[in-house]
Amino acid sequence: MKTTSKSGTRADAALSQAMDGLWVRFLPEIKERVAVLEAAAQAASEGKLTAKQREAARAAAHKLAGVLGTFDLTRGTVLARELELTFARDSSPGRDGGAKLAEIAAELRSMVESRKSSA
């Protein structure tokens, strides 16, 4: 974040610290959404993805896309958007597609679990 003064720097640091607090608070919810994506990707790779599971995965991906970039995980938003668009399609991703989705979900999990505090 750019700052223009000492007070600006302090304000940035205070906001970053508060954001880190929110990250810790909401991390279980964020991980749950990733778990929904992992389960859907696994089901797709086994050819067992149901319409209900696909819709749950689409919704989880949409929420992650909206929030991850806010916590400086810009690539997380990009990956989540890719998953959202895939799960929004009527057609099943298929076994090969499912394997690709599982890779993306794994990258998301790694990103979420390794986020460093920004303060």
Partner: protein, 124 residues
């Protein structure tokens, strides 16, 4: 100038981050609602200077909530900004056609959210 903003969003994380941002960066007063129905009641009760309204919510979604706000004389004049993670052009045109003041996108930068709102509403 201190402003009063109502945030209507069913997602706890987004609601809390937006509230933190507007309170700590801009010093604005924030009122929160976790559903469209709760938002309608809070808007009428608190008369905020503006409403930040999520699009995709279970039950009453953002566009429906917006139309209800406009139907009620007590809330019809309050500026509304839609907050959405939808980036497709067709969605954006549909939202713009509703008549909201502006459309803001998730993810947002907590450091500049208040500036975006102020600029959209001509407050800066």
């Amino acid at each position: 100038m201190a402003r009063k903003i109502l945030i209507i969003d069913d997602e706890d994380d987004i609601r809390e981050v937006a509230a933190l941002s507007l309170e700590s960066v801009a010093g604005w007063e924030v009122i929160k609602a976790s559903s469209g129905a709760q938002g309608l009641a809070r808007a009428a009760e608190h008369q905020p200077d503006a409403i930040l309204l999520d699009v995709m919510m279970p039950g009453m979604d953002g566009p429906t909530t917006f139309r209800e706000l406009r139907k009620n004389q007590a809330t019809a004049q309050i500026p509304v900004l839609l907050l959405t993670a939808k980036v497709q052009g067709t969605d954006q045109r549909r939202f713009a056609d509703l008549g909201v003041e502006a459309i803001l996108f998730k993810p947002f930068d907590p450091m500049t959210l208040s500036t975006q709102i102020a600029r959209a509403l001509g407050w800066s």
